[in-house]
């Protein structure tokens, strides 16, 4: 699969004295669901904000579909290709009504007026909120607000969808709602980059990049990364419960990652 995002020797610092990200090299393929897993302060939010040039690269290179992020003339196109949804549902509402919030991005890119409504409708359908166009943002739950935020980004037809801890302020219902939407989009071929500190959310990913103290501590498939309990603990993270239980029980063999696999595994041993 072609590379969607390629980073070489990526270094980032706000003021030159304190380094947030130190010499990272990585690549994210098109169509992949990548989880960026790290504790607070690991640099994970800063990393993804380099992808759409919200933060300036200090040194190294990042290319999104071959386009260098450092060139200002690329930024408008970059932000159209790389859509981002943030942590606080209420702080990214640009307008009081759903359809206005979604059309904000479309207007920024001078999408002709006659295309705005159909694109809005389609985006809402893709997040399971068909018919919500004229609703007031104030009447929506946290999970619904995040889905509107995703729709606002989808309307621009991005190639990459980045979620910056987008579920951390939601209740369990909102969280599972958003995860279901993401699984649907992933099946349709959207490249997903999900920043989180919960290993449970990373179980679904195709690949996990673990960040700790501004460097990449692990980069591989969930079944490699989430079973390395020591590495996770060293970086302020917890493995998923099934892995924890498996290890605590001292069972041989690879630890299952999901609840279902764990239940199966125990039954098999019985």
């Amino acid at each position: 699969m072609p590379a969607a995002i390629v980073g070489q020797n990526v270094t980032f610092s706000y003021d030159g004295s304190h380094t947030i990200l130190d010499d990272l090299t990585f690549s994210i393929d098109e169509g992949e669901w990548t989880a960026i897993l790290g504790a607070n302060g690991s640099g994970k939010t800063s990393l993804v904000r380099l992808f759409n040039a919200l933060l300036p690269l200090t040194s190294g290179t990042i290319e999104v579909f071959g386009m260098p992020v450092v060139q200002p003339k690329n930024h408008p196109l970059l932000r159209r290709i790389v859509g981002m949804v943030f942590q606080n549902p209420e702080e990214q509402c640009v307008a009081p009504v759903v359809e206005e919030d979604i059309s904000f991005g479309l207007e920024n890119y001078q999408i002709p007026e006659e295309e705005i409504e159909p694109r809005t409708e389609e985006a809402l359908r893709n997040v399971g909120l068909a018919g919500f166009a004229s609703r007031n943002m104030a009447s929506l739950s946290g999970g619904q607000l995040q889905k509107v935020a995703i729709a606002s980004v989808l309307a621009l037809d991005p190639k990459i969808l980045i979620l910056d801890e987008a579920t951390s302020m939601l209740d369990p219902t909102g969280r599972s709602d958003v995860m279901e939407t993401l699984r649907f989009l992933h099946q349709k071929g959207t490249t997903i980059v999900m920043v989180t500190h919960l290993s449970e959310e990373a179980v679904y990913a195709d690949r996990i990049i673990v960040l700790g103290d501004g460097v990449i501590k692990a980069n591989g498939k969930p079944k490699e990364v989430l079973r390395d309990v020591r590495m996770l603990h060293e970086n302020g993270l917890e493995p998923p419960l099934p892995v924890r239980l498996w290890k605590r029980l001292g069972i041989a063999g690879p630890a299952p990652l999901s609840d279902e696999d764990f239940a199966e595994g125990i039954c098999a041993l019985n």
């Binding site: 759409n52 919200l54 408008p76 932000r79 159209r80 859509g83 981002m84 943030f86 606080n88 209420e90 702080e91 990214q92 509402c93 640009v94 307008a95 009081p96 009504v97 206005e100 904000f104 991005g105 479309l106 207007e107 920024n108 890119y109 001078q110 999408i111 002709p112 007026e113 705005i116 104030a138 606002s152 980004v153 621009l156």
Partner: protein, 249 residues
């Protein structure tokens, strides 16, 4: 962009025309006409009696002060009463009354306007009205965006203030106090955090806007406005006639 009978732009223009008429009015008759016009206008905007009289109730001290300033500080050869720097004059008394009446009319018209138009409509109308200014390189689009965002911030800030007030009261904060200095100091645990939250919220919003391709000064899709209807044209003509009448009367 039409909510109700009148176009949003018509409502804004009529408001501006009314304000102009208020400024032009000099004698009793035009003022009477203006006051009388407020009643049907407020009715059609859906403003109830309580909201209509609220500006009067909450601003009465301000009005009293304005009237007193005019009544007692005008320079006139024949004061009715004089002591130290205070000069009570007939002219000043009447002037004061007119100033108060003008402010009251404008405030009421403002209340009627905001009750009759949604935020989106208002911002769209302001944007359209300011468009000619873009020829003079005034950043019209940005001004509308700032106004729209500021209006949205108001309910958010109210919520934050409530929330932080409760949190500080929960640890024994008391707001208010005997003297002004004490009162000001007691507000710091409320105002500073709310201030910070406002900045944090603004920063998050700006980041989200940038991430969705907003460029300061950049071109955006031009939304077409439907043509003015007959009702709109009648209202606008009426407004202009009102201004001329107030000027002449």
């Amino acid at each position: 962009m039409t909510d109700g009978i009148f176009d949003a732009r018509t409502k804004l223009l009529c408001f501006l025309l009314f304000v102009t008429a208020v400024i032009e009015a000099g004698t009793l008759l035009p003022f009477l006409v203006l006051v009388v016009l407020l009643f049907p206008a407020s009715r059609s905007a859906g403003l109830c009696a309580h909201d209509f009289f609220r500006p009067l109730a909450s601003l009465w001290q301000f009005f009293l002060l304005v009237w007193l300033m005019n009544a007692f500080f005008s320079t006139d050869a024949r004061p009715l009463w004089h002591w130290w720097i205070f000069n009570l004059t007939e002219e000043g008394t009447i002037q004061g009354l007119l100033v108060v009446l003008r402010v009251l009319l404008i405030v009421e018209a403002g209340a009627i306007y905001t009750a009759s138009s949604s935020t989106k409509e208002s911002v769209g109308a302001i944007n359209w009205t300011l468009t000619p200014l873009s020829l003079f390189r005034v950043p019209v689009g940005e001004i509308s965006l700032i106004i729209g965002s500021a209006l949205q911030f108001v309910p958010m800030l109210q919520e934050e203030t409530e929330r932080i007030k409760k949190a500080q009261k929960a640890r024994g904060a008391v707001f208010g106090g005997k003297n002004l200095i004490k009162r000001a100091k007691s507000m710091i645990p409320l105002l500073l955090p709310v201030f910070l939250r406002a900045f944090s919220h603004a920063d998050a919003l700006a980041t989200a806007m940038e991430a969705r391709g907003y460029q300061s000064g950049g071109r955006r899709t031009k939304r077409k406005h439907p043509p003015f209807s007959l009702c709109d044209k009648l209202a606008l003509s009426g407004g202009m006639i009102l201004v001329v009448f107030c000027y002449l009367a």
